[in-house]
Assembly symmetry: C2
Homo-oligomer: 257 residues x 2
Amino acid sequence: MLTMASVDRRSLCRPIESKLSSFHRLTAEEIEVVHNAITDVHSHQRGSELRAAEAGGRRRMVLSGWMAWVAHIPDGRRQIISLALPGELLDGGPVEGVHVGYAPIGIAQTGDASRLIALAERPDRPYPGLSEAWARARRAAADRMIHHVLRLGRLSAYERTASLFLELHDRQRRSGQADERSMPLRLTQEVLSDILGLSAVHVNRILQQLRRDELIVFRAGRVVFSDLERMRRAAGQVDRTLPPPQPQGALCPTAQT
Amino acid sequence: MLTMASVDRRSLCRPIESKLSSFHRLTAEEIEVVHNAITDVHSHQRGSELRAAEAGGRRRMVLSGWMAWVAHIPDGRRQIISLALPGELLDGGPVEGVHVGYAPIGIAQTGDASRLIALAERPDRPYPGLSEAWARARRAAADRMIHHVLRLGRLSAYERTASLFLELHDRQRRSGQADERSMPLRLTQEVLSDILGLSAVHVNRILQQLRRDELIVFRAGRVVFSDLERMRRAAGQVDRTLPPPQPQGALCPTAQT
DNA sequence: CGGGACCTTGATTATCTTCAATGCTAGTGG
DNA sequence: CCACTAGCATTGAAGATAATCAAGGTCCCG
């Protein structure tokens, strides 16, 4: 980790500004607050892993690059619990019973956002737009966890991958890093497999299938979506503002066991 | 839903008291607060489903029975995101892009705990033991979500099941419903399958395997653990206070795609 | 006694993993 | 400039794991 001089904090903080603005309009004053509330910028080198303890209670946000929140099983398996993209929070301390940590994907920079968050969460809401944007961002993060569980539990490999790509597209749009029909994606298939709960080999085959089905194209480190509507359908319709569910089955049994 | 008279709130609130006490010792005064801070008791009938909207911003806790937080996919698949056991919070509002709701497993009772939670979260901490217990309970809930993701993503069906059973055992012990080597379990295999992300048929076979391996015995609606230590090992060692991880692999690539 | 809800079983198929090899590309040092 | 290596991607074959389909079987309850 290298502590960096507060050179052009303005450009460093742009993803945060963009991400928050995507959830709720910020006033010029609030944008100013965002830019001034980030301190203690660090670079995370590839292969390093930030343990919760090292954060020292501070709440850090990603400024550039991606960070992966990884859970390790002693036998070497691992699962990425969530990703933190630019403008998002490194969310989660130590977890009982599992070894977890934040690993940069490639190189990443983070900054201490404790002050920003404290301002956003103040009960008297001195910056209402900021508070609102922050609250919505938090809720979006919680929603992502639900989607992650649903993906891993009930979607096929093909659906999972489509669903993840759509989620990443949305998130990168919010921080101003993707356009309407494509996004940067600098993940190895192995990392993808650790997100999706699949083997790397299988991820490879699924990606081929997505290309064969002409849903996506890879070009210069980017994913181009050929047909977002079909992509959404391929994602198991999970990401639509969809039709009503059918309680149908029981889910309210007596259990004979 | 039936609103019930505040008959013997004392016994209704016992699981909450027990659960919180398991996280941090409560004074007699704090226990009194717990008992008086629950209002608006409801019974949830089998087959009903509580939509987030209906909660009206109130935060409800389970008093008896279990509630399942269910996500529905339009095609009928469903995934249980989390369970709420007696003394635990119904945690989670509407989720963007998926239909979710709380369904009682069998019959369940919940109460409005908004007042209790407000007291526990007051910045001036009028009841420090309560605040501490509550904070730890929240953290435990967050940790469970991590474990859930890890289970679904990286554990085999056998490991998943073992891991879930151990978690449920721990949780029921905390609310005073399980003893050291056994716990009540009134879930159908279908519900289990919706938690574990498996088919009901497969759950059946896994349970047989666990019995054949003499890790568990079913008796009168209870699961008896024959050998907790081996059970923990069967759960992929995830639930132990375990050995250090090995960053080993990369997880910090360049991505060629 | 009939029905419903749940559990169990076998056979078959689909999905995904593992293993092992090969190819590709960018970077490195001679 | 050219091997040489390291890190990823790709492929095929084989096998494990889990889903699906279709019957029973059991228990409880009205």
